[in-house]
Symmetry: C2
Subunit: 195 residues, 2 copies
């Protein structure tokens, strides 16, 4: 099955190849790969170079207890498939540093993760982010301090077979990839203006 994005304008192969699977194999993400993912995030730009992104991570093969701890804060419907992802993370935004409030922190976390996704694709890894997790439980289980906000749960691994997923989820692995057209989100000169 070809999951390449059906782009209407040319985009880089590394971007068109990215998608968010639920079927992960049990092949491990290595520590070297983890560090390359984090390094990609590290070189992202941020407001005033504040670098407000934080990541709590667990490689299942290295620390199964930590992996289970992160898995445990996910909503049940995500645990079903995310358990197979070799690497789990919670992204965290630093909302304030010693100098100032970092009002762009969540945006900058997203930007760093956008960069990380490209590195993942380059390494043959896939990433699936989730909003479906218990942020309070994550704060407690992962000791996330004040002035920091859990943002997203992130599953990383190698593609597995959809046949191992519950039927309804397996169907989503091959469903058509859809996005609204550019005219619905990009406007010349004024919000809502037609192209």
């Amino acid at each position: 099955m070809d999951r390449t994005a059906p782009a209407e304008h040319p985009i880089a192969d590394v971007l068109a190849a990215r998608w968010s699977p639920r079927a992960f194999s049990d092949a491990p993400v290595t520590r070297d790969e983890l560090h390359s993912l984090l390094e990609a995030a590290r070189w992202a730009p941020s407001s005033g170079n504040s670098q407000p992104w934080r990541f709590v991570y667990a490689l299942r093969d290295e620390d199964p207890e930590a992996h289970a701890r992160i898995l445990g804060v996910l909503d049940e419907y995500n645990q079903v498939w995310a358990k197979d992802a070799s690497l789990l993370m919670i992204s965290v935004a630093q909302l304030r540093n010693e100098k100032r409030e970092l009002r762009h922190a969540e945006h900058d976390v997203g930007l760093a993760v956008g960069t990380m996704l490209v590195q993942a694709t380059t390494l043959g890894l896939h990433v699936h982010q989730m909003g479906g997790y218990d942020a309070d439980a994550a704060r407690e289980a992962l000791a996330i301090p004040e002035h920091h906000a859990p943002v997203a749960a992130i599953a990383v691994g190698r593609l597995g077979s959809p046949s191992l997923l519950p039927e309804k989820l397996a169907a989503r692995e091959v469903a058509e990839r859809v996005r609204v057209p550019q005219a619905q989100f990009a406007y010349p000169g004024r919000f809502g203006a037609p192209d």
Copy 2:
């Protein structure tokens, strides 16, 4: 001058090559390039595929009035250099759609822009985002509606000569690129844990 990120772990060339200049040449960003940038953003993942990113853009060669309108909402210290960028945009987050509050909207805007940056690098373009602009003025000048928040100003263009910048800004074009080490933002198992 080599601005390649001094990465401590291997990252993709397209990521290491990215940086945020202030010296832009007057060479135009083409409409085809603009659409490729937007298309890269379009295929980013988002919470529930909500696609909460919006962009108001202006190509100077195509609509100098709109370009001036976006330039006009930037803080003075950004106008000094951003005026030379062929393409100016304001990114906007849709905070609510017909179904629900989109609490990850700003994060997802960041993620889409992270993807756009990679497309820009692929096209030989550079991008410099700014928090230094007047969000209220942007809302007014660009007709940004309720339930939507202006996020960042974005300058895109081709590299120019730092010699055209004020001395203090020119120096920043060649300053060392710095980031905190991974141990200061990535933690195994629990926030703050040593690697």
